[in-house]
């Protein structure tokens, strides 16, 4: 029976693929386990394999010649722990461990911002990086004045100087205008009218900013406007993954295919964010996973997404917010070195995308820009729980489903486990404070109603 599942064509592909990956023969044997009779190789460690050192794929920045690792470390989700006084704080030991391991295995790009991790990210990243030679890493941080009420030049400069202090550096490798894209007026208000962009250009000239760029979330009009301004941008940070390549929601974002092509025309390298869509592409629905597993039974959905994001030549680095060592190790494996997505795999991903866009996901990437909610809701946790149920195929379409009892129990118990009652969707008052903050332009209160309605249907055991 197992033989039937392993057609000759696939077997060849896999063999080739693994050869390129450069993993030892033990892995190959393990991967072919199902097709071989009487094998004697134990699977211990073989299935995952070593984390390769010195094989990371690097891309060259055409403007400064920087040799940037394809895997970039996103510092917006550092591990947290509970302090003795009950409050949360960054787990600095864990951060140091992750950063050391990453640098040891070839990662050299670290992306942070003054507002990340409740404002603690720059400090924690700075402490971890201070322990390494300055020429071993590139640091990226941002002008995060999009949420602040005060947008004067003085405030902008103060934020920039503070970033240097927190990061304990005297120059910044990559400085970004944070989250550009909601409107041209907003862009002018933040960077042009107050003269902040002129100041930053001056800093670039002085060498304290080595690369000046911007991160984009929003509508095409703004993207075109900013890209075509009379300034050479050194890089641009965009959202790219196989779903957003051609199926970005036009109300929220622009197809990555377009963004990537436009950037290439202007010789602006792309830094990639959301390669996993906030983790959603690592937890795809069963049927989508089956498509991928048929080709590479040993590869995770996440590794497909990372390979996809790293494939375009114009991509400088792909950011991943890695909280767990296992995620870091897996991503290191994927990019050491990168095996670009081929034609056949691309076809598979198109099929996967079709399944994803038809699923009931709330388009949340869990970036938490919307939080803290003034009324205490844990917005990203609510959406995450809902999306997980979609991924697991446990979102009930109607109450007569054969799976009803089980799916109901799992949804309700899981909901209480992942979100405290007082922070659940039914406490949303629809004040709309969060809405303008969402880079994915999600109508958060409306999606909260959706989760609440579904929860109530299950709680009251209503017919639907």
């Amino acid at each position: 029976m197992e033989k039937k599942n392993c057609p000759k064509k696939h077997e060849l592909n896999r063999r080739e693929f693994l050869k390129v990956l450069g993993v030892g023969s033990a892995v190959t044997t393990a991967a072919l386990y199902g097709c071989k009779t009487g094998n004697t190789v134990s699977a211990e460690g073989g299935m995952i394999g070593e984390v390769p050192s010195g094989q990371m794929t690097y891309r060259i920045n055409p403007h400064t010649g920087d040799k940037v690792s394809l895997l970039g470390f996103g510092c917006m989700r550092w591990p947290l722990k509970k302090h003795a006084n009950g409050r949360e704080e960054v787990d600095q030991d864990a951060v140091n461990q992750l950063v050391d391991y990453a640098i040891e295995h070839g990662v050299n790009y670290f992306d942070t911002a003054p507002v990340y991790v409740q404002g603690w990210s720059e400090t924690a990243t700075g402490i971890a990086l201070k322990r390494h030679p300055r020429d071993k890493f590139f640091i990226a941080t941002k002008a995060s004045n999009h949420r602040q009420g005060a947008r004067t030049l003085q405030d902008g400069i103060e934020m920039y100087r503070k970033s240097m202090r927190e990061l304990q550096v005297d120059y910044i490798d990559y400085y970004l205008l944070h989250s550009v894209g909601s409107s041209i007026k907003d862009f002018n208000d933040r960077f042009i009218d107050n003269g902040l962009l002129e100041f930053l250009k001056g800093e670039r000239k002085a060498g304290r900013i080595r690369n000046l760029g911007w991160s984009f979330h929003g509508i095409q009009e703004v993207f075109d406007h900013v890209l075509n301004m009379d300034i050479q941008w050194d890089f641009c940070q965009i959202q790219l993954n196989y779903q957003d390549w051609r199926h970005a929601d036009p109300r929220r974002n622009v197809n990555a295919e377009y963004l990537c092509a436009e950037l290439a025309k202007k010789n602006v390298p792309a830094v990639i964010m959301e390669p996993l869509l906030g983790g959603r592409l690592s937890r795809v629905p069963q049927q989508a996973l089956a498509l991928m597993k048929q080709v590479h039974p040993e590869q995770s959905a996440a590794s497909w997404a990372f390979r996809y994001a790293g494939t375009p030549e114009n991509v400088l680095t792909v950011l991943s917010g890695m909280v767990y060592m296992e995620h870091l190790q897996e991503n290191l494996r994927t990019y050491s070195p990168l095996v670009p997505i081929n034609e056949q795999e691309n076809t598979i991903l198109e099929q996967v995308t079709r399944i994803l866009v038809n699923a009931d996901y709330i388009q949340c990437t869990e970036c938490q820009y919307c939080m803290p909610c003034p009324y205490g809701l844990n917005i990203s946790a609510v959406f995450s729980h809902y999306n997980r149920c979609v991924s697991a195929g446990r979102l009930l379409k109607n109450s007569h489903d054969d799976n009803y009892r089980r799916a109901r129990r799992e949804f309700l118990i899981g909901y209480d486990r992942s979100v405290p009652k007082l922070r659940q969707a039914d406490h949303c008052i629809g004040c709309d404070v969060c809405r303008p903050r969402c880079p994915q332009r999600i109508n958060i209160p409306q999606e909260m109603r959706r989760v609440e309605r579904y929860t109530e249907q299950l709680k009251q055991q209503l017919d639907f």
Binding site: G376, I429, Q460
Partner: protein, 496 residues
């Protein structure tokens, strides 16, 4: 043999009744809810003639088996007494004691008077079933739930949904104190004197004793065979066997059958007997030995205070602190749907806490008011009376909360929502909010424009004809610590 049967049945009953108070899923109530309903005082309060007749008949036939196998407080004392007997040189620690008739009949008298006069506090303090219920709710249920939460934690790690965690709360510290004192008193009495609580203080024991002296089956002593070794007397936890005079006080015998196996000469038998001689009794009222008032004033010192926290925001992520809600000052208490009125509840409730521990929404707590002392009262700080739930009405053994269905409940108005403009965040923070309107299950709340200049700012208008007082609006209102909309109880429930 008789003793073993008694121990097995009693153990089973005790376990299941305790489980009634521990269970928070509602499944045990469905199967074993009747066990609470056959308790004597609840049956009297519910005017459950069948149960009453059955209990009277059983006692007339077999003696006070009720005390031995049905009463959870009695069995708890047996447990304590048994442990006490395990001590060295305490195996045969009992001896005959004279009945304290003045005390027992005095208390029974006061109890009956209170029952008739509707002085609920005395009834609920003396009802052995309710007393046990308070202990189970306050001491055993938290332990049980902690245990469950531990399993839930493990289940969560194992990605299983077999267990889910639940809140562990002591719902009223005053009631907790009463339960603790009751436990200490019964515990000490049982440790030292076996069933002396049942034969001096407990009105149910005294009442059944009146019947059991005429019971058909009873322990009989064969004076021919008796060698006066006193083995039985030393083993009698009711201290009702007087070997010197070859007499057994059947009004105090709880039919535990411990004595039967102890007699090596076969002088004791449980058998149908001729009517016994009447013991001299003089039922006269007297003040109870316990000064409850003193206890109450002492306990009144125990109060709860909630902490108030501030909040701040600026950067990505993080969670705003959520302040605890505070209980509003209600003119009329809210009572559970099915209880008809505060008056009806007061008259029938024995304050056993079964409804309070069964409520999955944590809205019931024991009242601190003297007129409804320890009886359930609704407040919406932790949840609201959810539309699909009728748990309390299903479990009530005393008919204080009549059984209703969710459909019935959706049309029973237990209170009225009242809006407090100064607390409302629409007024306070000038933010739009539709929480109360959106969550009202009967559509009793409509949002109306506050003023023509701000079309987005809308304030609630309550339709009193449609409001059922479920508290969804109050509980989910974002204003804290006091909600901007709260429920005032209805003196009498009515349908909408």
């Amino acid at each position: 043999m008789l003793k073993k049967t008694r121990v097995v049945i009693a153990g089973l009953f005790f376990l299941l009744i305790t489980l009634l108070f521990l269970d928070f899923t509602g499944s045990v109530h469905m199967w074993f809810g009747w066990m609470a309903k056959i308790q004597l005082i609840p049956a009297i309060l519910a005017v459950n003639a069948i149960v009453l007749a059955a209990l009277v008949l059983a006692t007339l036939l077999f003696g006070r088996i009720y005390c031995s196998i049905l009463c959870p407080l009695g069995i708890l004392q047996d447990l304590v007494s048994r442990i006490s007997s395990r001590r060295k040189r305490k195996k045969n620690r009992f001896s005959y004691a004279r009945p304290k008739n003045l005390l027992r009949y005095g208390i029974l008298g006061i109890f009956i008077l209170s029952l008739v006069a509707g002085f609920g506090i005395v009834v609920s303090l003396l009802d052995p079933y309710a007393a046990y219920g308070r202990m189970a709710t306050n001491f055993f249920a938290p332990l049980y739930r902690w245990g469950n939460n531990l399993l839930a934690l493990l289940a969560e790690h194992g990605n299983s949904y077999a267990f889910y965690s639940t809140e562990v709360l002591v719902k009223g510290w005053l009631t907790f104190g009463i339960a603790l004192i009751t436990l200490i008193i019964t515990g000490i009495l049982a440790w030292k004197h076996g069933r002396s609580y049942c034969n001096t203080l407990c009105p149910v024991g005294t009442f059944l004793g009146l019947l059991s002296r005429f019971s058909l089956f009873r322990i009989a002593m064969d004076t021919q065979k008796c060698t006066q070794c006193k083995a039985c007397e030393k083993k009698c936890k009711s201290s009702c066997i007087e070997v010197n005079t070859f007499s057994i006080d059947h009004s105090r015998c709880v039919a535990c059958f411990n004595c039967l196996g102890k007699c090596k000469f076969g002088a004791l038998k449980y058998t149908a007997a001729k009517p016994a001689k009447r013991a001299k009794t003089d039922p006269q009222a007297e003040q109870p030995g316990l000064s409850r008032r003193d206890l109450l004033s002492l306990l009144g010192l125990l109060t709860l205070s909630a902490t108030v926290k501030a909040q701040q925001l600026q950067v990505d992520g993080g969670l705003a602190t959520i302040e605890d809600k505070k209980v509003p000052d209600r003119k009329t208490p809210i009572t559970p749907p099915g209880s008809l009125s505060a008056q009806h509840l007061k008259q029938h409730c024995t304050a056993c806490q079964l409804c309070i521990s069964a409520c999955p929404n944590h809205i019931l707590s024991p009242s601190r008011k003297l007129s409804a002392f320890m009886q359930p009262e609704i407040s919406y700080e932790r949840g609201y009376c959810r539309p699909e739930c009728v748990e309390c009405s299903q479990v009530c053994p005393a008919g204080a909360i009549q059984p209703i269905t969710p459909a019935d409940k959706s049309a029973i108005s237990i209170g009225q929502a009242i809006w407090i403009p100064d607390n409302c965040i629409v007024n306070r923070d000038s933010l739009p909010c539709d929480s109360c309107e959106r969550h009202c299950p009967t559509g009793a709340i409509t949002l109306v424009e506050r003023d023509p200049d701000h079309p987005k700012l809308k304030i609630p208008a309550v339709d009193k004809e449609l409001c059922i007082g479920c508290g969804a609006c109050e509980n989910l209102c974002p204003a804290r610590p006091f909600s901007a909309i709260y429920v005032e109880g209805n003196v009498r429930h009515h349908s909408i």
